[in-house]
Amino acid sequence: MLTRLLRAAAIAASLFVAPAVAMADYPEKPIRYLLHVSPGGATDVMARKLAIAMEKTLGVPLVVENKPGGRGATQLADLASAKPDGYTIGAVTSTHIGAFNQTLKQYNVDSFDWIARLVNEPYLIVVNKDSKIKSFKDLVDAANAKPGSVVMAGFVRGSGGHFAWEIMAQSAGLDSKKVRWVPFDSVGDAVTAALGGHAEAAIAYVDLVKTYVDAGSLRVIGIMSEERARQFPDVPTLKEQGFDADTSWQQMRGIIGPKGIPEPIKAKLAAAVEQALKTPELVAYMEESSLIPSFQPPAEFTATAARENALTKEWMERLGLTR
């Protein structure tokens, strides 16, 4: 009992004292940057480029560590148990917020500090080139004329893409009887199903479908964003087509840390992120990968995460996915 008390006191003391000492000359040793994905994917590539750019500003190396496994569980467990001293940070995406509400309920948005948002990716709908559907209105008409004749392929139920579709469907007055959501193991698999003509349509991102659209094997019939995508200047937004879907619902990527990082350290990290996103290498990469730079500092990012979490919760309940 006594040792436990002592230990608790020591931890409490270190929480208050240690950061105060460390803050002045932060950072003075390498920073661990934990990813929930294996090397080679889009999130990994972006993180590595960001790490190189941030290293120049901060003066210490950012060591990227891949911690895949348990659909984010391995990364989050490591992150949550790390000291909140700014020497351990992690990648975050909208998928994490989905997981907080579904598979990883031991965490929630308040379990972590939200340091900076990096980029956004709007959702879009693609159809096979041979499909009769030419616009979002065509899709709505086809679904209304013959409920169940159109199926929408995408990632698992409860994923960001699934909610994106539900938001679009709601704006058009469609329900799950008229258009069924078919979950695939990845967004890429869903796009492949649309390529092969097995699914009428799929929800995806610009980056994932660009080569197929350029080659003429897929067609984009609408994008859920305020402005048209630079890569597809001829594709009207859903709003332009007369459907008022929430364009703030996009796939985001950012940086989080363990709960309780002192404000000055968070600010320093966020400033380094903001600067890194302006380097020519990252600007070129984001452009090439069709990512929209959407930097947010800690306070705004925390608010964004809370809002996204509330929306996720609401949709989970509405769709009966809260089991």
Partner: protein
């Protein structure tokens, strides 16, 4: 095509590309031979080092790594019953019994030579058919994948060894295990008592447990430092001559491997299992499969190496990564600003063609290493069993951990090791369990996906032609051995009647 080859060849004029080629093969040998470190993981580990490299150098290095590791998984499979790659578990079925008979050198020779033949023929097929193969890759939707998985599971009737009943028990046990994890359609968690199970039982950990650790436990039964005798290998030309009787087997297995490689989501393990089962059907001595029949080693190794160029077809021509390893390749190219897909042959012809050249040029180097190695590595078998078991156990556990960085996976490997050991006591073999672990998720997820798409209409599986053909074949494969057994019994009875008549005549 000639322009493309010229572009590819000119890329090979730089020393960096040649260095990448050799480096890739050597690293691939190591990655493949280490259990737990699969081709995909090895390639992923190399990615950060390819950042500053030229796109051709990095892709050549990764592709030769992939090629060599698909082979070298056979080395520990044959020598220590420890599959270095998932697909070499099938090589171990006959390779390890061969080694126990002292034929390790012969098994290793056959494995490297048949790997080379499978890989070269398959690469040539890839060069000429890459654009047609995209049709096959895209023809597979949920209904087709379900039917393909059922077809794969029907192979149990040949894989089962001497007891069909035991084979079924093992298969059902394996299928039961695949129900653990996140539900593929609703995302509901099933039997997930640890976060490590969210994606189901970690496959590589289970495989290492079932094969290697259960063998380690079995070796503990015999005390003392038993070593197996080792038969000497003939000279080099006679060594290559060992391959002669297997021509038909290799051609069939290459074709099976290539096609299954093209279909995204199938892969080397399914290719090996299929080629092995088919060869058993064609073989004149099917009863010795699983007891050290060289045909089994040749079929499994030819198929898993033929699978790899096949997997490159949808990756290059469609940008669809069908396997973990090709997904890493797509990522590596994306870092360099090259997008595999329909436009790669016009925008970056040097990439596909330098891959072709790397596969063809890297092969002789890989074979030389392998043939030399078949004389070197066999010496492992002369090391006392007590030392070998300790090393195998340690590398297996380390490999399992490195695959996922989770200690839970190590527990899974140990658990499966004990289960595999106990099942061996009642003569239940691990191969059907592996078959179920590979295909169970594919079958379930695509079955349910098809039903969501069709609105719970079961006839969808018979309306789609590919699906209907696969299911029909599965039914035939499944029923044929039963009919054969029945007919055999009748024939035997008739034969028994005849001999009694003959003996009567003789006695007169």
């Amino acid at each position: 095509m000639i322009d493309g080859f010229l572009a590819g060849l000119s890329a090979f004029s730089s020393w960096q590309v040649i260095a990448g080629l050799f480096g890739g093969v050597v690293i691939g040998y190591i990655v493949g031979a280490l259990p737990g470190l699969s081709a995909g993981v090895g390639m992923a580990l190399l990615i950060p080092f390819t950042f500053g490299l030229d796109p051709v150098v990095s892709v050549v290095m990764l592709v030769t790594l992939y090629m060599a590791s698909e082979y070298s998984g056979a080395i520990p499979a044959i020598l220590m019953n420890t599959p270095g790659e998932p697909s070499s578990a099938i090589t171990a079925l006959d390779g390890y019994p061969m080694r126990e008979r002292g034929e390790a050198g012969e098994a290793l020779t056959l494995s490297i030579l048949s790997s080379a033949v499978g890989s070269v023929i398959s690469t040539v097929l890839l060069i000429f058919s890459v654009l047609w193969m995209t049709k096959i890759a895209l023809a597979f939707g949920p209904a087709e994948y379900f039917a393909l998985a059922v077809l794969g599971l029907s192979l149990i009737s040949t894989l089962a060894g001497h007891s069909v009943l035991r084979g079924f028990i093992a298969l059902l046990f394996g299928l039961l295990l695949t129900t653990v994890g996140t539900d593929p359609v609703d995302g509901v968690m099933r039997y997930v008592f640890n976060d490590g199970l969210l994606g189901g039982f970690p496959f590589i950990a289970a495989l290492i447990g079932l094969f290697a650790l259960s063998e380690v436990l079995r070796m503990l039964e015999t005390p003392g430092n038993r070593t197996t005798p080792l038969k000497a290998l003939p000279g080099l030309s006679a060594q290559i001559g060992l391959l002669k009787p297997h021509t038909g087997n290799m051609l069939r297995s290459t074709f099976i491997g290539y096609i299954l490689g093209v279909i995204p989501g199938a892969g080397a393990t399914i290719a090996s299992i299929t080629a092995y089962s088919v060869q058993k059907r064609f073989s004149k001595s099917p009863q010795t499969f699983g007891k050290g029949n060289p045909e089994g080693v040749v079929a499994a190794e030819t198929a898993n190496n033929a699978c790899m160029p096949g997997a490159l077809a949808p990756m290059l021509a469609l940008g669809i990564p069908g396997k973990a390893s090709t997904a890493v390749l797509v990522g590596a190219l994306a870092i360099q600003g090259v997008r595999p897909g329909p436009l790669i042959f016009t925008q970056h012809p040097e990439i596909p063609y330098s891959i072709y050249i790397a596969l063809l040029v890297g092969m002789p180097f890989m074979v030389m290493l392998g043939l030399f190695g078949s004389r070197m590595w066999v010496r492992l078998t002369t090391i006392p069993a007590s030392v070998v078991t300790a090393i195998v156990a340690a590398t297996c556990l380390l490999g399992t951990y490195s695959e996922s960085n989770e200690i839970f996976a190590v527990g899974v490997a140990v658990g499966f090791g004990i289960v595999g050991y106990l099942l061996a006591k009642v003569e239940i073999e691990p191969a059907p369990i592996v078959l179920a672990l590979v295909l169970g998720y594919m079958m379930e997820s695509n079955f349910r996906r098809s039903l969501v798409m069709s609105g719970d209409d079961m006839t969808v599986f018979l309306r789609e032609p590919i699906s209907a053909i696969c299911l029909g074949l599965a039914a035939i494969i499944f029923v044929a051995p039963l009919v054969q057994t029945l007919l055999g019994r009748r024939r035997r009875r008739a034969a028994a009647g005849e001999t009694s008549v003959l003996s009567e005549e003789a006695s007169r």
